[in-house]
Amino acid sequence: MVTISTMAAVAIDGLAFGVFLALLGVGITLVFGLGEVLNLSIGVFSVIAVLIASWAVNSGQGVIVAAVIGVLVAAGIGLLVDRTLLSLVYRSTGEERILLGIFVTLGLTVFLDGFFINGLSLTSGIAIPSFPGSYGLPVDLPTVTIGAAVVRSSSLVVIGVGAVALAILFSFLRLTYLGKATRTVFQDEQGAQLVGVNPRRIRTLIFVLSVTVAGIAGVVWAVGQTVSVADGFQYTTFALIVSIVGGVRSLGGAIVAGVLLGFVNQFANFFVGSYVATVILFGAAIVFLLAKPEAIA
């Protein structure tokens, strides 16, 4: 017999997974909406943030400081990628650019995956550590009782931090000058250029912002779960599903879709097992793609 309180606990976990998905989906949507690049390496940035944060914790930092370091490193690598690889991608236009973006970011995923598994020891004594196992952030949180439901507090961390991050992102886009400039590029690139907005700069800003969001998604997710390098591509495919279901140019859509799919996945997980749940998740994306392909084209 499944009790109401169990259902409530599943729902909270579902919401947490949903917020995680929403953050990833927003990461893909931002970049695609603005630059027509489908960033198939987004999940790796989540993983990078976790790896660096866990490494920082092991070097004696506090968890929160470590998480911030992790997100900043992910953002820094994002900036580097934007200035180098994406600059090359942006030279082409239209479908050509989308295709090129897919392959370049896919290659980046494969490269970074392998790179972080191996680490690198340079002769000058500088070493980039390797990350062969799986990593979490050691936050010792008790379970919380809400009403009759016993809830994992890691889920509450994901929901809380994720919601704040999304709120900040939206306020930035709605309220600041830079955010408004960003939205003008979204809507009318030529018009934006005419009033003195540099679209390339805005794209850089947005790319760094999107991988920062992905990094935040990673570190909050790692509070309750362990994350390994190999998970990166899976997170990317999650992000892809969310943006397909939500419509790849709609940030609000990404959030709604993320939360919805989080619930679907967690309840399917509870009732029919994790493997069928994953099939349902990706099956949903396929159905949405077939039903309304114009959302992503």
Binding site: L38, L85, L88, V89, E95, I98, L99, L100, I102, F103, V104, L106, G107, L108, T109, V110, F111, L112, D113, G114, F115, I117, N118, F233, T237, L240, I241, I244, Y275, V276, T278, V279, F282, G283, A285, I286, L289, L290, P293, I296, A297
Partner: protein, 338 residues
């Protein structure tokens, strides 16, 4: 039927002949026989992608999944019905082919762009991967099972050579047949239709080219080949695992092979497979762990700077500097051995 271009066929024959004598210097080394067999398998995957992506712009990113359908399907049906895998192989490949038909038909009907097809098939790839891992009762889950089908003892025994070598020659015959099929396809009315569709789909359909039909045919052939070769891919490894059919294992490899060799060239997949498999072996010898990062960098570099591939570059060089060759339009008569 149109006459096949003798120059192209000659080159196919030449490459097949080279591959046929390749095991002789190292006869008995099952290590090299494995590498060569792997090369031929990868080349066949490349030809299949060349048909569906090269010819009709349908980017199938579930090549691993289709190969898995062939590999698992053949084994599961053979065990289930208690018959030889040689019988269940065409059935499994046909099922893979039908999946290709479904994808091509829906995406052609709904006028999916190449990007949409790639996203759709990537999702299908993940579903298939999940099924290979999750359907433990059938697939053995993530532990897999030994793959000892396609017994060739009846041939290998009497001749007195290893089964591995016989398997290699079986694969080589398949590659040769597939390359001939490719040459025939692109030089028949199919090729004309493919080219018209690539140039301008609307214009093609306005002059009476049935766009949906041709895309579906290309989708079927490619998916069938992936399924068919997928069984040998598992046989060659002697063990079947979900991970062998993952996106990052198969699809990335085949994409690199085709781009290195040359998209829409007959021998591109073979040349690409040769280069990539050789590179893999060098990496295995010296630094195994760096296979993945190097492949990632290759993928980026190739798509940014080298999308034409090796074969067109070689063609150009031959055309420019070789005195006996006066260009593709008039191929030399001596290249007709097949």
């Amino acid at each position: 039927m149109n006459a096949l271009p003798r120059g192209e066929l000659g080159r196919v024959g030449l490459v097949t002949a080279l591959l046929a004598i390749a095991p002789l210097p190292v006869l008995g080394s099952s290590y090299y026989e494995s590498i060569l067999a792997h090369l031929v398998v990868v080349a066949m995957f490349g030809v299949a992608l060349n048909i569906v992506f090269g010819q009709t712009d349908q980017l199938f990113l579930f090549m691993g999944g289709l190969a898995g359908v062939g590999g698992y399907g053949t084994a599961i049906m053979a065990d289930e019905f208690g018959v030889t895998a040689w019988l269940t192989l065409p059935i499994a490949a046909f099922i893979a082919g039908l999946i290709g038909v479904a994808v091509s038909w829906v995406s052609a009907k709904r006028k999916f762009t190449v990007v949409l097809i790639s996203i759709l098939t990537l999702n299908l790839q993940i579903v298939l991967s999940e099924v290979f891992v999750g359907a433990r009762g059938l697939t053995g889950g993530s532990t897999g099972f030994p793959y000892r089908y396609f017994s060739l003892d009846t041939i290998a025994g009497p001749i007195g050579v290893g089964e591995k070598l016989v398997l290699y020659y079986v694969l080589l015959v398949l590659l040769f047949a597939l390359l001939v099929l490719y040459v025939w396809l692109v030089n028949s009315r199919f090729g004309v239709a493919f080219a018209a569709i690539r140039e301008d789909e609307v214009a093609a359909s306005s002059i009476g080219v049935d766009v949906v039909r041709y895309k579906v045919i290309a989708g079927f052939i490619a998916a069938f080949v992936f399924g068919f070769v997928g069984a040998f891919y598992a046989r060659e490894a002697a063990y079947i695992l979900p991970g062998s059919f993952a996106f990052l294992t198969v699809d990335v490899l085949v994409l690199i092979v085709l781009i290195v060799g040359g998209l829409r060239t007959t021998l591109g997949p073979v040349v690409g497979a040769g280069i990539v498999v050789a590179l893999e072996e060098v990496l295995v010898q010296s630094f195994t762990d760096w296979r993945e990062p190097i492949f990632g960098l290759m993928l980026i570099f190739l798509f940014l700077y080298f999308r034409s591939g090796v074969v067109p570059v070689l063609d150009d060089l031959v055309e420019r500097y070789a005195p006996w060759n006066d260009g593709d339009a008039d191929p030399p008569p001596e290249g007709t051995a097949d």
